[in-house]
Every structure is written in structure tokens, then in C-alpha cells.
């Protein structure tokens, strides 16, 4: 097989893997939450059933909906597919990864978010714009924190390319970087905020005063809603995969090495299972906080990340 065909196949395979597995990841987190709350839970496959049901339904659009409202779910979905194509999941050196580095990755998430906020304002109900402004608020505070989180691995790897970062971190001497520990804690906090999890937002809430993400999608139904929910699941998976690539990248397959792939898949699955259970645990033991406490939460994430960077600059580790 020509090498470029191999690269294309591995790129497509990885993208499809993330796209198709994402609902299972969400289902796993929900299942763990159910177990931790002494419920039986609907099973890991429940999100697929929900998506199937939504795709079958007729979409209901408000009379006032403009084209932005209809195109936004597709753009959100497309952004997440692109993000899934550039992050190192099975192997690091992907076909599309030179097209975007960590900063551009943050840009992809921002693009998806701006469209979802604009779509929420499009109908002109009170809840939509309430959700939009809360979403933009949380994200505008979490973006600097996220960048500072990336800073420490980026200094270690001397690169902003995800491939280079994952390579540098995977092949280092097995030394502990205290700076990375701070960055990892901060990353988990940003992950919770960006993915609308407790304590910043509650993905299962239908209480208007506390909604962020749910208020954004209040007007959506059927296939549009399905695409948004799927994109949300993908975002969670991408964040987890990103955390894994940055803070525990062992086991990634080397480029064009087919033998490493099964091991990489198993390692990834194991790490995602652990990460999902961890998120469920964090969500169960913490309480949803007021929206105006979110800046403090994200400020703390930011300070932790800065601390990590300063430690790296001072100690070189």
C-alpha cells in the first residue's frame, strides 16, 4: 500500500473512532453517575438510542427561526469532527494535525460555541439569550485558563503542535514533572467548566435558573438537537483524549506502525474508562455552584496553571 493511502486510512479511522465512540463515552459517564447515586442506570448505550429517536422525529422550528438557527448544529458538529481529526488519540502523527495546533484547537471550540450562542439568540426568547450570555461568560474565562494549562507542556516540548507535544511527553524519561501535576489539576477544572458539567453547569438540569447549556438548546428538537447532543458528547471525549495526550500519553502508536495500534486502542479505552469514572465521581461529590462563583472557580484553575508554569521556569521540571 502506498504510504499516503495508509495515512489517509489511519486519519479516517481515528476520526470515525472518536465520532462513533463519543456517545458511548457520555453513556459511560452517566452510567457511573447512576451507580454512584445508587441508581441502576440506563446503560452505556442509552445515548445511541436517544440519538436514534431524535433523528427519526420531525424537526420543529420556531416561526422566527433564521438560517443561522438551522445551520448552527451542523457547524458545531463539523467543528467537533475537525477537532477529533487533529488530536492524538491512537497515534500522534496524523494527516490533518499540521493544519491546527493547540491554539487553533481552542479556536475550533470557540467557533462552535459562538455559533451555538448566536443560534440561541436567534429565536428571541428570554432563555436563549440568557444561556448565550452565560455560556460566553464561562468560556471567556476558561479560555485563558486553558491556554495557561497548555503552556507547561508546550514549554517542555518547545512546540505548540499537538503531535510534537504528545511525542515529547510520551518519549521523555519517566520523570515526574511537578509542573505538569498543577497543569493537570487546572485542566480538569477547565474540562468540567467547558463541558457544562457540575459544579459549573448541570447537564441534566431543567431548572431554568441554573441552566447554561440546556438554555442554549431549549428551542432545538429532532435532528438538530441530535447533532448538538452528539457534538457535546464528542467535545467531552475530545477533552478527555486531550488530557490523556497531555498528561498520560504512554501507549500512543508510532506513525505508520500497525502493530502498535491494538495496544494503543486498548490503552486508550482503559484510560477513557478511568477518565469517565473520574468525571462521574467529581460530579457526584461536588455541588452545583452559583453562576457568579464560576469566575472564582476558573480563576483558581488559571492560578494553578500559572503556578505550574512558574514551577517549570524556576525548577526546570
Amino acid at each position: 500500500m502506498a504510504p499516503w493511502i495508509q495515512t489517509v486510512i489511519s486519519q479516517l479511522a481515528q476520526t470515525l473512532l472518536v465520532v462513533l465512540l463519543a456517545p458511548a463515552m457520555l453513556g459511560w459517564v452517566n452510567q457511573c453517575r447512576a451507580w454512584l447515586q445508587n441508581r441502576t442506570g440506563p446503560g452505556v448505550l442509552q445515548p445511541y438510542r436517544v440519538l436514534g429517536k431524535l433523528f427519526h422525529k420531525d424537526a420543529v422550528l420556531a416561526h422566527t427561526a433564521s438560517p443561522i438557527f438551522r445551520i448552527a448544529p451542523y457547524i458545531q458538529f463539523g467543528c467537533m469532527v475537525l477537532a477529533a481529526s487533529i488530536i492524538p488519540v491512537i497515534e500522534a502523527d496524523l494527516l490533518l494535525s499540521p493544519a491546527a495546533d493547540v491554539i487553533a484547537l481552542v479556536g475550533i471550540f470557540a467557533l462552535a460555541r459562538v455559533f451555538s450562542s448566536l443560534a440561541a439568540m436567534d429565536i428571541g426568547t428570554a432563555f436563549g439569550s440568557l444561556g448565550a450570555r452565560r455560556e460566553m461568560l464561562v468560556s471567556s474565562l476558561s479560555e485563558p485558563a486553558l491556554l495557561m494549562v497548555f503552556f507547561t507542556p508546550l514549554l517542555i516540548a518547545q512546540s505548540t503542535s499537538l503531535t510534537a507535544i504528545a511525542d515529547a511527553l510520551a518519549h521523555r524519561q519517566f520523570a515526574l514533572y511537578p509542573s505538569l501535576a498543577f497543569a493537570a489539576v487546572a485542566f480538569v477544572m477547565v474540562l468540567l467548566a467547558e463541558n457544562a458539567r457540575i459544579p459549573v453547569d448541570n447537564p441534566t438540569t431543567h431548572l431554568e435558573l441554573t441552566m447554561i447549556h440546556e438554555a442554549l438548546v431549549l428551542e432545538y428538537s429532532a435532528r438538530h438537537l441530535a447533532l448538538i447532543e452528539w457534538a457535546t458528547a464528542m467535545k467531552l471525549t475530545i477533552y478527555c483524549a486531550l488530557g490523556i495526550a497531555l498528561f498520560m500519553p504512554w501507549g500512543l502508536a508510532a506513525a505508520a506502525d500497525w502493530r502498535g495500534v491494538p495496544l494503543a486502542v486498548v490503552a486508550l479505552a482503559a484510560k477513557l474508562v478511568v477518565a469517565g469514572a473520574g468525571i462521574a465521581l467529581l460530579e457526584t461529590v461536588s455541588a452545583k455552584m452559583r453562576i457568579f462563583r464560576a469566575p472564582e472557580f476558573l480563576g483558581m484553575a488559571f492560578l494553578l496553571a500559572v503556578l505550574g508554569m512558574l514551577i517549570f521556569l524556576l525548577l526546570g521540571a
Binding site: V60, P98, D101, L118, R134, S140, E143, P144, M309, L313
Partner: protein, 670 residues
């Protein structure tokens, strides 16, 4: 491109003359709107386009100088077109092509300045900006600078029958002149003892450290006053809402860049050497300005004030880039200095495109609705699809979203920030990364601002019944908007040719060029340092998202269906909802107001239970007015009060004063 023997500088000067001519032609029939807007402005567009071509053609060429026969005896005007000037000339030509196209369809009969006079002021303003860019001596520079300030002042007060507009214009004029004094002093320091005000003489002189620093500070102050740098930014949010929209676009998109040009010219070219702490001052000031601007933009309720504050933010980003370039240059890292400079220049071009586009968009909205207040707009995307979709491009671009142009410059600047560790100064090593966090915060908040701006104006339901009659912009206005929106898209997708053109600009300033390195990974990939360190491929990025969207769309349609039902929006069980229950501009800005409360001076009127006619009002003001400007104004008044003791309005007293002065002087001389 031009006939043999015609140099780009000749073309540029020709366009300046042509514009003066067009302006004077406007006086031929000053009352005829038809003549001015349908004949003169299309001709002006041609001049802009020629200017843009001449500028681009001149960037790679050798510097070209001419001594004009104008000026004072023994003090002729010197003119020079080098790569830096040519780059900004091209920017001016490019942006004004779009703005003048828009003008053809924009102006209406109304109170205030007559069309012919407006045409004169407009073209004198354009010509003066070109002269600022090509001036090669302090004398011509100041003459052109003042012409630019005065002509733009008259443009700002075009509707001079409204007192607020006159006040805003006066504030602008005042700050423009305070800045001009500082620039004049900077030139005065630089020419030293020689008395030669040509830039060549300034380049040759090597002032001592103290005077060089003084020059830089004066230049930062003077050009900062024009550009809207903290704390001299107060005129922008007053002048921009007052001015007609194309004038706001011209001032924000192009005139602010002449101040950036001046700062670059003085700090990188005219001063023989740089000192690291200049860079730190510019960096800190720039970042503070960026954060301050974006915070205030988030709480504005007037769409043009919002954009004015957003301009302050962008100028802050640009000045921070200049500061970073200075730091790297003084620490002998020409590669990163060039990267920061390229990011700065790129952001200048970007800001010229998207800010002009947004200001012009507000102009169309203003014409369609007669409303500037965000609280009375809404839902215009249905009546004004052209303006709405083109403005969306500008809003996404200014929010720094890939794959549009705002992201490219932000990305380049962040690359420069992120690779800063490695400077020999450990404190800077730790502070510069924090600067990058401040930059990202500003960028993220600008996305907030743009969601608010776009969402409140164009999305949702109309907040007033009158908005149902709003009409879309005419053909000329659309053409101007399309021109600028296309620029936003192209600059975002194909950054490499622009960066390679900038090589000629950076080479004389930092003795380095990054165009080759940036393009080595392929024409579609941007890798400013090296391909392993960072790369970004906007075209792949766009194709990736577009491909994914398309595949998803087709799959959803094929596998499932595309059925749609229309219904009323979900009312949460409360059927009596009205459009007035939507989030207002105040409401959208409220979280920012709450989080960053210490920065604002908020005055609230809260009703009591006993009020017969209860009302709630909250105004948000700039603290700097009370901390800085009012004390200065009060001091000024107090001094004036002392001086007024001498004033009695009686002629014999004044004669007495003259006599006493004469006696005193004679005694002094003896």
C-alpha cells in the same frame, strides 16, 4: 503594472493631487447630492484602487525619495516611499476602496454639512493621511498630521446642529492637539542640535540614552493619543457615535493605523537604537488598553460606542505586539521580533478590514432604522439579509475565530508570546507568558462582545414595531461591504502571500524576514518558526469543517429525512411573551459588569416602594474621567480663575499692563 518610467511614488502623489481635485470639484455644486455621490465618489474609488496597487507594487521596491517644490523657502517638503510607508499606503488604498464604494450610496440629504463641503473634507482627509505616510521630514509630517486632524474634526461634526456632536468633536480636537504637541516635541528632541528636520538627519543622529527614551515616551504619548491608547482613549467612544458611519469607518479603520505607522517609524526607524524597557512599557500599556477596551465594549448599549471601545481593544493588541517586538529586538532575537512585528502589521490590516466593515454595517442599520441604541433593535436578519450576513463575517473575524483573518494575527502574536521564555531576563520570562493570558482573555471577551453586538442587532425578534419597515442596503452599500468582507475571508485563508510581502517591510526594521520559513511547509500551511514548532493551515481548516458539515448534512438527509414543522417558540408555559422580554444590551453585559465591577463607575437609580412613578436606571462610566480628566479640568479652571483677576475688560488697564511689561523688559535687558 504602470507605464515605464512612472514610479509608484509618482502615482501616490498623483492620487493625492487627484483627491484634492475631487474635493474642490465638490465645491462646484455644493448642494447637489446627486453630483457628489454619483459622480465624485465613484471617481474617488478609482483613486483608492490605484493607490492600493501602487502601494503593493512599491513594497518590494527600493525606497524612492522626492523633494517637492512646496513648503517654506529653504524648508521644502521631503517625500519618501519605502516598504513601511508603501505597506500602509496599500492598506489605506485597500480599505478606502470599500469605504468610498459604500459612500456612493450612503449620504442622504439632511441637516448639517452640505454634500459638496463633506466631499471636500473627506478627500482632504484621505489625501492628508497619504501625506502622513509618505512624509520624510518632521515639517511635512506635522503639516499633514494637523490637516488630517482638522479635516477629520470637521467630518465628525458633520451634523453640527446637535450639541452633543459638537462637544464630542471638541473633545476629539483637544486630544488630537495634545497628542500633536507630544509628537512635535519628539521630533524636536530627535533633530538635536542640527536643526535639520529631515528624517535622514534624525536617523543619522544618535541621541544619548535619556533623550532617546524621552523621544520614545513622547512618541508613545502623542501617537497613543491618536490611536486611543489608555488613558488617552476617551475621545474615541464620543467621536465615533457622533460621526457619520463611513467617517467612523475611515477614522477607526485607517486613521488609527497612521498613528501606529508613526509609532513604528519613530521607534524602529528614526531612533538609532532601542532599550528593552520601552518594549515593556508598550507591552503593559497595550495589554491594559486591550482589556480595558473590551470590558467597556461589553457593557455598551450604543452600537457605535461599542465598536469604538472594540477599536481601543484592537489598538491595545497592536501596541502590545509592538512592545513585544521591541523586547525581542533589544534582546537580540530577530526571529521572534520579526514574528511579533508581522503579527502587529497583520493585525493592522485585519482591523482596517473588519472594523471598517462593522462600522459601515452599523451605517446601513442606522439608515434602515434611525436607531443607534441596541435596546431598540433586533431581528434585522430577516429584513436585511445582505447587511446581516456580511456583518456576520466581520463579527466572526473580529472575534478572532478561525478560519477568518482575526485569528491569523492573534495566532501569530500568541506564537511570539509563547516562545518568549529564553529571554535573558528571568522576570520578563515569567511576565511575558502572563501577557499572553491577558491577550487571550481580551480575545475571548471580544467574542463575548461580538455575540452581543450581532445577536442583539440582527437576531431575535424586533424590539420595536417600526423595525418591520427596515429595508436592506442598496447596491453601492452592498458593494462596499462585500469588498471588505471578501478581504476578511481572503486574509484569513491565504495569509502566506501577505506575510511574504511583509518581509520587505520587516527587513529594514529588524534585519530579518520570516516569509521563507513561514512558507517552507507548503503554500497552504503557515509555520512562522518551523514546521515542528507550530503550523496552521486555514484552508485545510475550512475544507475540513465544510467537508464534515456537507457529509453530515447529506448523511442525515439520506439515512433519515429533512422534514420540518413550523410552530411558535416554546414559551415555558407563559403565553403572554412579548419581544421586550428578550435580553437587552444591558442584560447581556450584566455579568461582565458584575465580575469586573471595580473597573466601572456605576450609578444606579433604584426605585423605592413609595415612588409614584418608579423607574430603574443604571449608567456605567469610565473611572478615568473622574480620576484623571476632571481633576485636570478643575485645575485648569482654577488657574483660569486666578488669571481672570487681571481681566476687567477695560482698555486702560490693558494699556497699563503693556506699559508695565515694556518697562520690566527694558529693565531686564539693561
Amino acid at each position: 503594472m504602470f507605464p515605464a518610467g512612472v514610479l509608484p511614488l509618482d502615482v501616490v502623489l498623483g492620487v493625492v493631487l487627484y483627491w484634492f481635485g475631487l474635493g474642490l470639484a465638490g465645491l462646484a455644486r455644493p448642494g447637489s447630492l446627486r453630483f457628489v455621490s454619483r459622480v465624485l465618489f465613484p471617481l474617488s474609488v478609482a483613486g483608492s484602487t490605484v493607490l492600493a496597487i501602487a502601494g503593493i507594487a512599491a513594497v518590494p521596491g527600493q525606497p524612492d525619495t522626492v523633494v517637492l517644490v512646496l513648503g517654506l523657502p529653504d524648508l521644502p517638503f521631503h517625500v519618501r516611499l519605502d516598504a513601511l510607508s508603501a505597506f500602509f499606503v496599500a492598506l489605506l488604498g485597500f480599505a478606502t476602496t470599500g469605504i468610498s464604494l459604500f459612500c456612493v450610496g450612503y449620504f442622504r440629504h439632511g441637516q448639517g454639512t452640505s454634500p459638496g463641503l463633506l466631499c471636500l473634507q473627506y478627500h482632504v482627509f484621505l489625501a492628508a493621511m497619504v501625506l502622513v505616510l509618505v512624509a520624510d521630514d518632521g515639517y511635512l509630517f506635522m503639516v499633514a498630521w494637523e490637516t488630517m486632524a482638522l479635516s477629520s474634526y470637521f467630518l465628525v461634526i458633520a451634523s453640527h446642529r446637535i450639541p452633543e456632536i459638537r462637544r464630542a468633536g471638541f473633545l476629539y480636537l483637544l486630544l488630537a492637539h495634545i497628542g500633536a504637541i507630544a509628537i512635535l516635541l519628539a521630533f524636536g528632541v530627535m533633530h538635536g542640535a542640527g536643526g535639520d528636520y529631515t528624517f535622514d538627519a534624525m536617523r543619522a543622529s544618535e541621541p544619548p540614552l535619556f533623550w532617546a527614551s524621552a523621544t520614545f515616551m513622547l512618541a508613545l504619548f502623542g501617537f497613543g493619543a491618536k490611536a486611543g491608547l489608555l488613558p488617552l482613549h476617551v475621545w474615541l467612544p464620543e467621536a465615533h457615535p457622533a460621526a457619520p458611519s463611513p467617517v467612523s469607518a475611515l477614522m477607526s479603520g485607517v486613521m488609527l493605523k497612521t498613528a501606529i505607522y508613526g509609532l513604528l517609524r519613530v521607534s524602529f526607524d528614526l531612533l538609532a537604537y532601542q532599550v528593552w524597557w520601552w518594549g515593556v512599557v508598550a507591552l503593559v500599556l497595550g495589554l491594559l488598553t486591550a482589556l480595558y477596551g473590551v470590558m467597556f465594549a461589553a457593557v455598551q448599549t450604543d452600537m457605535k460606542r461599542l465598536l469604538a471601545y472594540s477599536s481601543i481593544e484592537n489598538i491595545g493588541v497592536i501596541v502590545a505586539g509592538i512592545g513585544l517586538a521591541l523586547i525581542f529586538r533589544t534582546y537580540d532575537n530577530p526571529h521572534l521580533a520579526t514574528l511579533a512585528l508581522v503579527a502587529t502589521l497583520y493585525h493592522c490590516v485585519n482591523h482596517a478590514c473588519f472594523k471598517s466593515l462593522l462600522f459601515l454595517g452599523t451605517g446601513s442599520v442606522l439608515h434602515a432604522t434611525r436607531e443607534r441604541s441596541l435596546g431598540k433593535l433586533g431581528g434585522l436578519i430577516r429584513n436585511m439579509p445582505w447587511v446581516a450576513s456580511l456583518t456576520l463575517v466581520g463579527a466572526l473575524a473580529i472575534a478572532g475565530l478561525p478560519p477568518l483573518n482575526g485569528f491569523v494575527s492573534e495566532w501569530l502574536l500568541l506564537q511570539a508570546f509563547l516562545f518568549a521564555p529564553g529571554l535573558p531576563n528571568p522576570y520578563l520570562n515569567m511576565l511575558v507568558p502572563l501577557g499572553s493570558a491577558a491577550l487571550v482573555l481580551a480575545a475571548a471577551l471580544s467574542a463575548y462582545v461580538m455575540v452581543k453586538f450581532y445577536g442583539v442587532i440582527f437576531l431575535g425578534q424586533p424590539r420595536e414595531p417600526a423595525l418591520a419597515d427596515a429595508h436592506d442596503a442598496g447596491g453601492w452599500e452592498r458593494a462596499g461591504l462585500v469588498w471588505l468582507a471578501a478581504a476578511c475571508v481572503l486574509l484569513g485563508l491565504l495569509p502566506l502571500p501577505v506575510i511574504q510581502l511583509m518581509d520587505y517591510v520587516t527587513l529594514p526594521l529588524t534585519q530579518f524576514a520570516i516569509g521563507d520559513t513561514a512558507g517552507r511547509a507548503g503554500w497552504f500551511l503557515l509555520a512562522p518558526v518551523s514546521a515542528d514548532r507550530a503550523s496552521y493551515g486555514p484552508l485545510i481548516f475550512l475544507l475540513g469543517i465544510a467537508g464534515a458539515v456537507l457529509v453530515t448534512f447529506v448523511l442525515v438527509r439520506k439515512v433519515y429525512h429533512g422534514r420540518i414543522r413550523r410552530a411558535a417558540p416554546w414559551d415555558c408555559g407563559y403565553p403572554a411573551q412579548t419581544p421586550r422580554m428578550q435580553d437587552t444590551a444591558e442584560g447581556f453585559g450584566q455579568p461582565i459588569k458584575q465580575i469586573f465591577e471595580p473597573f466601572f463607575r456605576i450609578r444606579r437609580h433604584v426605585p423605592t416602594p413609595f415612588d409614584a412613578q418608579p423607574y430603574y436606571a443604571a449608567t456605567t462610566e469610565d473611572r478615568l474621567w473622574h480620576w484623571l480628566y476632571l481633576p485636570i479640568a478643575q485645575l485648569n479652571q482654577r488657574i483660569a480663575a486666578w488669571v481672570s483677576v487681571l481681566q476687567h475688560g477695560r482698555i486702560y488697564l490693558y494699556l497699563l499692563y503693556s506699559f508695565a511689561t515694556l518697562i520690566a523688559l527694558l529693565l531686564f535687558v539693561n
